[in-house]
Amino acid sequence: MIMTNGMNRERPLVLVADDEDDILTLVSFRLEEAGYDVAKASDGEIALQMAKELHPDLAVIDVMMPRRDGYEVTECMRADEEMQSVPVILLTARVQEADVRRGFAAGADDYIKKPFSPDELRSRVQAALTRH
């Protein structure tokens, strides 16, 4: 049993949010295979609720989602005392520099651009968890 984010867990819990089912499945599969537990959210609103309830060790959030986009989810997490220390990696197909700046300004720790390689996903998730 290890302590992750103050919770007793066997493996670190990663919250993954994406409104594209195929990508949600893909990212979750890769993370489970890399040794993480995964909680899946299909839009920004659900992601926020789950982040509040589950206290994940890390969140991988897609930028363009219905209800609340990834920037908004990140901002809300940063504004909430309980969630503000959860590292956030944005998953985005929009890689214009303005989008990247906006992500960092919202409080994201890193971003992964689509399409991504499994190695990149693994190493960025691991690095973010190690930093925190």
Binding site: I23, F29, E97, K114, P115, F116
Partner: protein, 398 residues
């Protein structure tokens, strides 16, 4: 009627005619929407029509007698001096786009035409200056650029999302289901992967071209090691050269590390080599040279391809331009490679040029000024972490 009376009558008629002519011209000057301003050689305003009042906010009473410099923004003082020396030589300036200062302190985008006013002896005694308001056009252009950029961004997103699934699931099959695949199955999967990669490259190029068009893309300046730059292109280039039956040679001279964006500059070299290979027939050769020369790092790529038509010289760096040779030989590509190269080279303060002879080949040459590296003491003090303390991204405007 005697001669004296005739002469006197003609003089009166001429005088009357001149008077009417002057009035007619004055009416034209007053009725135009363009600002028409007269200035003396000493730089004072001597005439100011209603168009000038409309455009710049000062009435004629307020403006006449004041220095012309009052309507020139401070940051354009140098430009004004250059203009004065052109006019002093008796030359005109046609439709030059710049800014002028309104009475309320804001700047107005204008197109300027300036002509010297000469006396009977052809001496320059003053200048006439016509200013046309182009701010609406400028605004429309900026809005057009913004919409175009937004459109490209959206399209790229819509294309990238399914691509992520294709690439991701092909990789999953390779990683976890490899044993259940037949040899042909693996072959087909590799074809899907290669094409998805090609499509992704194309989407990236389109997006990059849109950003460079909007004059706002970024370079992340760190340390560029020329040898590593070449190494990063080598494998892909060698595979492409082998497939095309083209001999490829590398000559990497000693180049000290310099400041620049290694990812973007790799893209420059990669695009130049890929073009050279694509346009060189089987049995030809491509030579890549990287060396230092007069404070610049030079990337030079020569080929023994068909060469470039002289009339295509200026079009080659335009986005989406496909050369005659590319069309004729069905060379794959979107016509973005060289436009991207030029945008990156410009952002590094460098130059790109080429020499070409039809039927003999071409040599493309990029010269990059070797700026100090980001970690150098000379530049370190100018660095400031951004608000979040994250990776620094410098904005480059063309």
């Amino acid at each position: 009627v005697d001669n004296g009376t005739r002469a006197a009558t003609e003089k009166i008629e001429t005088h009357t005619h001149d008077k009417w002519e002057v009035r007619r011209l004055a009416a034209i000057v007053e009725s135009t929407d363009d600002a028409i301003i007269g200035a003396s050689l000493s730089g004072n305003i001597v005439s100011w029509n209603s168009g000038a009042e409309q455009l710049l906010g000062y009435s004629a009473e307020e403006a006449i007698g004041k220095p012309f410099a009052m309507i020139v923004p401070e940051d354009l003082a140098e430009e004004r001096r250059a203009m004065v020396s052109i006019i002093a030589r008796g030359e005109r300036i046609h439709h030059y786009e710049t800014r002028r200062r309104h009475r309320n302190g804001t700047d107005v985008d204008v197109s300027v035409t300036i002509s010297p006013i000469t006396d009977a002896g052809d001496n320059v005694v003053g200048v006439s200056c016509i200013l046309r308001d182009v701010s609406d056009r400028k605004r429309a252009e900026a809005e057009g650029e913004r919409l175009k950029s937004e459109f490209f961004s959206l399209v790229s997103h819509e294309l990238r999302t399914p691509l992520t699934s294709i690439v991701g699931y092909v990789q999953l099959l390779t990683d976890f289901e490899d044993e259940s695949l037949s040899g042909r199955g693996r072959e087909f999967l590799e074809i899907i992967r290669r094409n998805a990669e090609r499509l992704d490259g194309l989407v990236q190029d389109v997006l990059f071209a849109a950003q460079s068009e909007a004059s706002a893309f970024t370079v992340v300046p760190t340390v560029v090691d020329a040898r590593r730059l070449a190494d990063r292109c080598r494998r892909e280039a060698e595979t492409a050269a082998e497939t095309a039956g083209v001999a490829l040679s590398w000559e990497i001279g000693p180049v000290r590390p310099f400041g620049g964006d290694p990812d973007r500059l790799t893209q420059v070299l990669r695009n130049l080599i890929s073009n050279a290979i694509k346009f060189t027939p089987e049995g030809g050769r491509v030579d890549v040279r990287v060396f230092a020369e007069r404070g610049c790092c030079v990337l030079e790529v020569s080929d023994t391809g068909q060469g470039i038509e002289p009339e295509e010289r200026d079009l080659l760096f335009e986005r989406f331009y496909r050369s005659e040779a590319a069309m004729k030989d069905h060379v794959k590509g979107a016509g973005l490679g060289l436009a991207i190269v030029k945008a990156i080279v410009d952002a590094h303060g460098g130059t790109i040029d080429f020499e070409s002879e039809l039927g003999q080949g071409s040599t493309f040459r990029v010269s990059l000024p070797m700026r100090p590296c980001e970690g150098d003491p000379a530049t370190r003090q100018r660095r400031r972490p951004n608000a979040s303390g994250k990776r620094r991204v410098a904005e480059v405007r063309r």
